[in-house]
Symmetry: C2
């Protein structure tokens, strides 16, 4: 444990110059002779000098730090967004101050105040679902960007996955595979994600002039629900040849139950999942064709736009980020194997 941390004045006196000169030398500014700069740099290295970011921030008013406020602790979705953001920041010299509000508005306010008091340059709020959430940006002296869960206020900057478009893409893929009796199993209707994905389904089916097989089945996002829904569906609509599932968990449950009922996937029934949660989508048999929401990219993009907003170039509105269909073994033309 070093006796004391070296300050710039230690460096200056070791190099035999004034503090101002040392500062200029260290920051690569003009008005310093090469030999002098050399001496200062050597002194700084010898003392392993690290400029005090607090003092620096006090003057410049910029801390080069942003707050990351997440609502879902154990976040299946928050984490990749966080990583993408951390990635975008880490490339530069930004640091990320992480706060978890655990879905509690009081705690959230508390964290916002704490971050403000730490003078962060900006804030990213990542939601636990794609449902719009109350704005936190009212009267805040710093820019805020919302990721995954958009703000209710359209003048805020939000980035969300394009669930409608992705669902349409998934269903179009099924249609292209020659499937015509397509059913839909998804999550609870109070999730905007579930509603959006159903809308995308209807959009694609409508354009193709194909009717949905049976009603949309809504339930929990779980594998158990996938199995249960499969049983109901295979009973009610025995001749379906494809299912679009609202999550990989549901899809994994469906595949399992369908196989037990003697339906082959993908030969008899093609299945598309959602989320590309790898532990499910690549490990199940057959591996799942599924939608990847590119959450890391979403996080990275949000971070980049936060930079822009900090520089005064805000981009208000809800931006839909494209998703990607990952085609694996659970979809193919009917009976093609």
């Amino acid at each position: 444990m070093a006796s004391k941390r070296a300050t710039i004045s230690d460096v200056a006196s070791l190099a035999g110059v004034s503090i101002a000169t040392a500062s200029k030398a260290l920051n690569g500014r003009q008005d310093v002779r090469a030999a002098t700069r050399e001496r200062v740099l050597a002194a700084a290295a010898e003392l392993s000098f690290q400029p005090n970011a607090l003092a620096r921030g006090l003057i410049s008013g910029q801390t080069r730090t942003v707050g990351l406020l997440t609502s879902d602790s154990v976040g299946r979705f928050g984490i990749p967004v966080l990583l993408g953001a951390e990635d975008a920041f880490g490339a530069g010299e930004m640091a990320v101050l992480l706060c978890d509000a655990r879905g509690d508005a009081i705690r959230e306010q508390h964290h916002v105040r704490a971050l403000l008091s730490r003078r962060v340059d900006g804030l990213i709020v990542v939601g636990e679902s794609t449902n719009p959430r109350p704005s936190v940006s009212k009267e805040l002296p710093i820019p805020v960007v919302y990721a995954y869960g958009p703000s209710e206020d359209p003048s805020d900057v939000s980035f969300v996955p394009d669930d409608v478009g992705a669902a349409a893409m998934a269903v179009n893929h099924l249609l292209a595979m020659g499937r015509r009796r397509i059913a839909h199993i998804t999550g609870p209707t109070h999730y905007k994600a579930a509603r959006d994905r159903e809308e995308g389904l209807h959009q694609a089916l409508g354009e193709a002039g194909v009717a949905q097989a049976g009603q949309t089945l809504s339930g929990p996002w779980s594998q158990r629900w996938g199995r249960h829904a499969a049983e109901m569906l295979l009973m009610a609509e025995p001749e379906i040849d494809a299912v679009f599932c609202g999550s990989d968990q549901i899809a994994a449950g469906f595949v399992e139950a369908a196989r037990e009922r003697g339906r082959r996937v993908p030969d008899d029934i093609a299945v598309v999942g959602y989320d590309n949660w790898e532990v499910l989508s690549t490990e199940t048999r057959p591996a799942l064709t599924t939608v990847d929401m590119n959450l890391e990219l979403l996080g990275r993009t949000a971070a980049q736009h936060l930079f822009a907003a900090i520089d005064g170039k805000a981009t208000p509105g809800v931006h839909k980020m494209p998703c990607q269909l990952v085609i694996r073994d659970s979809t193919s033309p009917p009976g093609s194997s």
Copy 2:
């Protein structure tokens, strides 16, 4: 966007007192008349004054901020530890500065320097596996605590799950269920976790005077390997009545393959997993008996000990944290259903 941030001198002049008095009033110190304090507080509220943490930290030398350095970005294990730590800190007034080194030593050094320059009060390093990792604490002016992955230097403070003890506990549970022909499928031997869990198995079997069924099978931590190992094992040792798996992924694969081969779980073969990764352990059928490493608790404990170290009460050594056996449906006395 507020015109300008209020400073304590704004508060002071609005309240008609000096800066010093305002400071004392705001920090609840003595030597301020009640009426005066009242005025200052009112002024602060009106201006929605937030003390500048930078200025405060500059004086006190304490930023009330800790760095969290993680090595595995998408961490199955890092995340819970992180959450536990965030939890312990969030209770007080600490903030967490998150850095992801992505397993790169250079990047790690870079981040350590950045954190040092931000004057964090301490550092938590969370590993991507339980393999000991190089110490980062050499000559660092702040305390460091390692979580999940211990430091190679025994004079550092490290917290790791007690894999040996947990494995023994799991195997003792199988023995208590009357199982006597217990096999072991686990991950790559270059993981200390795999070696420790095997050691725990041998320990429990040795104490009970029971021989292991077949050789330990090592492979990837994946579901695919679980299936593959199941096929080999059921061929080589057809009369096994229990399997201890090194991960829930392996266990899930084993269960699936065993069922396809006509073996009932748990009636014919009991299965214990490891990790309590809920998407696997609770959603598979039957739900898996598995070891929960209590990673959030581990993270919280690491954070608390970092506090202690910051206060000068360091607790060097590698501390083994107890794990917990979560008993579900995949284990029972043989043929009990």
